[in-house]
Symmetry: C2
Subunit: 253 residues, 2 copies
């Protein structure tokens, strides 16, 4: 199974960091972005950039830093953008509806797929986004968490939002799945019949309700959705039991 490709329209998604103080966080954000297929980074008045610490923390995502756009204002970073989501965890005076990441990302992806430029806007590590910065965005998003201890740093917040975006792509996992062939009806029935005969033959049904036991066992195996290879293993076990417990007097196949 070949690897699937990250869809091109993620190019319409940009991450904007407003006035980031720590170069390490810029690097961590770049890494978090690229891991989730997001590559366009905008930096509004970064305190230090470029910077060796950012490059170190970006790990293999140095290209995201190299292509980052540095601007002097948030307006410049939002040029061409139609939907800008301000990330906030404070109560705001603005009555823009406060969306959860799931809903916000659904809207962003639908727009990006249609060729609309969209942005996720993150504030300074200590102060968050200013009132003025929030007002320049047209969506308000909050990542919910423990009200008594909420400590999501900039890199983690970028990670969570980019994960949420990517998770909604319905990205195929087939290339990570083991190849398995489900057993067919007659193969499963063949196993049940074999199991029934063996259990009967070794006296497991004496003083027990055999039919009821088999129904329970069927339920168990049905729940597991048996594969062809597993049927082979299970029937191999049954054959070995028959071999060691002597010939099955009830055997008729």
């Amino acid at each position: 199974m070949s690897k699937p490709e990250v869809p091109d329209f993620l190019r319409n998604v940009r991450v904007v960091l407003a006035r980031p103080s720590h170069p390490g966080n810029i690097g961590a954000a770049a890494r978090a972005m690229k891991t989730m297929g997001v590559t366009r980074l905008y930096l509004v008045e970064p305190k230090r950039f470029p910077d060796a610490e950012a490059t170190t923390l970006a790990s293999g995502a140095a290209d995201v830093l190299e292509n980052a756009v540095v601007t002097g204002t948030l307006d410049a970073a939002l040029e061409g953008v139609s939907i800008a989501c301000a990330l906030t965890s404070r109560k705001r005076e603005l009555t823009t509806p406060l969306a959860a990441p799931r809903d916000a990302c659904a809207e962003l992806l639908a727009a990006a797929r249609d060729g609309v430029e969209v942005a996720l806007v993150f504030g300074n590590e200590t102060y968050g986004l200013s009132i003025d910065e929030v007002a320049r965005c047209n969506r308000l998003v909050t990542i919910a968490g423990n009200p008594d201890y909420f400590s999501l740093n900039l890199g983690q917040a970028v990670q969570v939002m980019c994960y949420e975006l990517f998770s909604q792509l319905a990205f195929p996992l087939d290339h990570l799945r083991a190849d398995a062939e489900l057993a067919s009806h007659e193969e499963v029935e063949g196993f049940y019949g074999h199991l029934d005969r063996v259990l009967d033959g070794i006296g497991f049904y004496d003083r027990r309700n055999g039919e009821r036991l088999m129904r329970r066992l069927r339920t168990l195996y049905d729940r597991a959705s048996l594969e062809r290879q597993e049927i082979d293993i299970l029937r191999g076990m049954l054959k070995q039991i028959e071999r060691r417990c002597g010939p099955d007097p009830y055997r008729h196949d």
Copy 2:
């Protein structure tokens, strides 16, 4: 609006780190957990623990580290657990179905709510989970991402999974929402009538289709779900226009 509480049943969720090498990652994991209301940390053969670096990176989540349970085997860390999700990003030989975090967390939360103990199991930073460790879990979970660059460190992976868990609690955001009162039908209609008269009065409809323009403007404002205070502001603007542009000859209210 008072703060909502993290539900008690999150106590049934444990995070297990198998053979973590870097104390900093243990601290980052503790912080990521507590931010999302998860507090029970199990450490299987940590290379260094307790450790000052872990405590520093845990920030305000030192209590999670203090209460962490250190075990010598994964089996000991999974004692009492009925659903154990192994986090993996490699193709595995096991044919346990590979779940996305969204589906896995839905199952974990439903079980935890019913009083069942569940676990998220993360492997070593460099090697991930061993085949033997994965086999001791009964669920396989992968966080999907960019197939050409996947670099989610241990702390980020714990953050993503704990975020995913918390996001499914349908945690109320009301305490973060600004108090707003939606305008009633007659208030909105009063505004539309006022707007129509003013636009007509200032000659905006000359040589234009006034009815069509009003229909477009209604659509715009309806989409925004006008609040009572916003109606006051908008009508205040209209009154000021009337004041500065002279008496409205069509006015009849």
